[in-house]
Symmetry: C2
Subunit: 509 residues, 2 copies
């Protein structure tokens, strides 16, 4: 079965034509799948509107309550509860853009956010990092920079994630260091934390400096993205509300994702948890549209379940998948581009890490999510970003990207002549039809090893995780900064020096 | 984020209601996905007919050539080439049943084979077995029996596979030992090798004895299945042709799967390899229908690619997935239930083993395959059946099975009242809505561990593969034979003793 025939000339891959898939611009090839009836989806939407209208959401930021009140919502200043009528939400949904583009330093990094596009983002905001050589440790700036450099290498991670927290940098200065790294070491669209107006203002200033944009120019297109998580159930805190307002006013992209776990911060039923999540997402999206109609937002879902024995979050479960498919139905009902997420609760880069991540990745792809966050490296339910898992997940994302190109089916591809030239019981290894294509016919894996057992054992018998370790080290040592990225370094240094002098910007909590 | 709250009363799972999914009877919840246009699929079908009509297939068995000739095919006895006209194939496809049932010892094990049903079969015909405690070794009868017992425990593996070869039993007696084990230790529909008329006749006699069936009764329903692989390109050998004829004449199920690898035994293009595979499958299915119109057959695909650097087979690749999706389109064109397969080339039960298996499993599910073979335990491209991988794959299959049940979306499930009772920032752990459901709300994993890092490390820091090892040992020690299975043992012993006395039945090669 396992042939050992080596293809003549197969050693010289350097002359290979690139595979046809353009990992920077993917369109989802799958038909979005349903898990609920259309009636059930409509009922969830109605119930979410009823939650916002009759129960309301607690909004901690006075400025946000003002915006809601001015739009006609009922605001109780004592309880901070805001009750938002369905017509206010309907109007907000009207003004949301259905598609828009996001820009990095290189025009080649321009990403389209629209129903049907497919964007992957690395695992984000993990407090710890881990690799086979140095072990598990709290994330520091050096780790963040390494993960940024490795991720920069892979086009399939189309925009920057917030891989880990640079916890060795004081919080009032951290955003300078992390954003400087993004702007000088990567040409992808950067991530910016919403940790208060002052930090966001700093970040936008740095991006304008790096991209050479004036204030007006900056507001007219998307150059940065942020993550807005409501505190489920039904709380929108200060920094999140302020982030929504500030990103909207500056025309930058906010991804509005309640962080719900069925059975913990949300009802235990998928339909119930989705309804609560939908209510909170609608409330957040509405705030952005009230701050600036037309502000670019993504609807967000990252709904999974808790393990009812331990109360621990679980990811890549059947519930996670069904919830994601249902979220996709709700996103299509309101017609917005949206995000889902991949992930695992595994504590080591083993088979569980792989199957849970794939399960949730397939959920995201089959649900038609525009953006899949935490798509690489994220493990322990988000507590750790693993260098080896990053590489393994990139392999799988590249495999998904390959599926975005339909295989040729012209007459030559059908290969009747090739079949006619190979006798019964023969082989196609040296057929002209094969020779003309073998260099680029198949995806060439990063990590996967197809050697037979003996050869594999002789080569050291290493697991995929051990091979991934070698691969990230090689990727890191091969790193070269994208052309022009360093050019903005001086202007940024100057800005950061001045702001540091002024005391930096403590986060709003 | 990671809660440590333990659910009150969560220790006592024994009173849990079963989850609603019936793993024995699954319907695929997904819409079959396409990778080719309808025109391209029609062109592949036409090209396959042209291959059969003008190039032909080499058929080694004279009896099979006679059947083809009698139906009007052009047969060259010197070259053994058979050219089959399109109308002969069309007529054969007319007589194929679109759906049928297969029977085990227990009526609860009845399986429906029809477009839209979902049947999983364990990894089959691996020459080696492997487990963490005893290592990798050639498969022996004791291993086969252990894998059979472990697989019997899991309803999601609905019919028996041919887990490994009992290589310590002489080939003329091996089929007695392996089938006796299936019939006395399992109540699932057994697998029978097509290794010549004599062995097949023995096997059918044993099944009739075990099931208490007369010859006529036996022919009227499906009590066994076999695997028919053509030798790609374009050879149907003695034992496969004879198996097709004998299974058809006895009304038993043959799965007709050319074993093609794009770039090796088939054209390097997916469209070309599918066309060759389709041609060979149609030729085999036609032979079965010529032997007995209405014979139960499954159309089969197990098309992947070779690694062009080493010539080794690769599984769970993008090519494997696209080929499987295309095969599903061809199967739907001819309207037959069909099989695909999951698999991996990995040599160890690591992340690669998991991601490749999932990739090919999802291919099978999304392609709408009726039966997914090699769905558990199969690794090294089929050279080894791993005990630990068996358990890990069963976990994932159970997760897929859970997706076959739509989550509730009635008013109570929408949970408005539950949301109303939990204050903003509160939690749902002790809500009545949660308490009423927490025991059965979520799939309870076999192997997956959601403990946080500290707890996981304290408990030994074991990988999923290590936990799977413990789990198969426990499953094996918990094994009890299905009720009534042993009852047929005596009659089988008598039969086997007599046939052994007569010299057994050497395989036809």
């Amino acid at each position: 079965m396992r042939a050992n025939r080596r293809h003549p000339g197969a050693g010289s891959r350097q002359s290979a034509q690139p595979r046809p898939a353009d990992y920077r611009r993917l369109r989802n090839p799958f038909t979005p799948q349903r898990v609920f009836s259309d009636d059930a989806v409509a009922a969830m939407h109605e119930s979410a509107l009823k939650i916002n209208e009759t129960l309301g959401i607690k909004v901690l930021l006075p400025e946000a309550r003002d915006l809601y009140r001015e739009a006609g919502a009922l605001v109780d200043e004592d309880t901070q509860m805001v009750r938002i009528g369905g017509e206010i939400i309907a109007q907000a949904l009207e003004s949301c853009p259905r598609s828009f583009r996001g820009f990095g330093a290189d025009p080649q990094r321009t990403v389209e956010f629209a129903p049907g596009t497919l964007v992957f983002v690395g695992g984000s905001s993990c407090p710890n990092v881990s690799d086979l050589e140095r072990g598990r440790r709290p994330g520091a700036l050096a780790d963040y920079i390494e993960l940024l450099k490795i991720s920069q290498r892979f086009d399939v991670l189309q925009i920057s994630g917030n891989y880990t927290e640079a916890q060795d940098v004081p919080v009032h200065l951290r955003h300078y260091a992390m954003l400087r790294a993004q702007l000088t070491l990567s040409d992808k669209m950067p991530f910016v934390h919403s940790r208060g107006r002052e930090q966001v203002r700093d970040a936008f200033a740095m991006i304008r400096l790096a991209r050479g944009l004036g204030e007006q120019e900056f507001r007219q297109a998307v150059y940065a993205h942020t993550m807005i998580n409501s505190n489920s159930p039904r709380v929108l805190d200060h920094s999140m509300a302020q982030g929504l307002i500030d990103f909207a006013r500056h025309g930058q992209m906010a991804i509005v994702t309640p962080f719900c776990l069925a059975g913990a911060m949300a009802p235990i039923t998928i339909a119930g948890a989705l309804t609560l999540q939908h209510a909170e997402a609608l409330a957040g999206i509405t705030l952005a549209q009230l701050a600036r109609p037309g502000a670019p937002v993504l609807y967000g879902s990252f709904l999974s379940n808790v393990d009812m024995r331990s109360g621990s979050p679980a990811f890549g479960t059947p519930t996670h998948m069904q919830a994601t498919l249902g979220a996709g139905q709700l996103a299509r009902l309101i017609g917005l581009p949206w995000r889902a997420g991949a992930g695992t609760a595994a504590n080591v880069v083993d088979a569980q890490a792989a199957w849970e991540t794939q399960f949730s990745l397939w959920a995201s792809v089959l649900a038609g999510a525009t953006v899949c966050i935490h798509a690489a490296g994220w493990m322990e339910g988000g507590l750790t970003h693993s260098y080896e898992k990053l590489m393994i997940d990139v392999e799988v994302l590249q495999m998904v990207a390959e599926l975005c190109v339909a295989p040729p089916a012209d007459e030559d591809a059908l290969g009747f002549e090739a079949v006619a030239t190979v006798p019964p019981g023969g082989h196609f290894f040296s057929a002209a039809h094969t020779m003309a294509r073998y260099r680029t016919a198949f995806y060439e894996p990063l990590i996967a090893d197809t050697a037979n057992f003996g050869a594999w054992q002789e080569a050291g018998g290493r697991t995929a995780t051990q091979r991934a370790c070698e691969k990230w080290k090689q990727t890191l040592s091969d790193y070269t900064p994208p052309p022009g990225a360093a050019a903005c370094g001086e202007a940024l240094e100057e800005f950061i020096a001045r702001r540091t002098e002024e005391g930096g910007a403590p986060p709003l909590t």
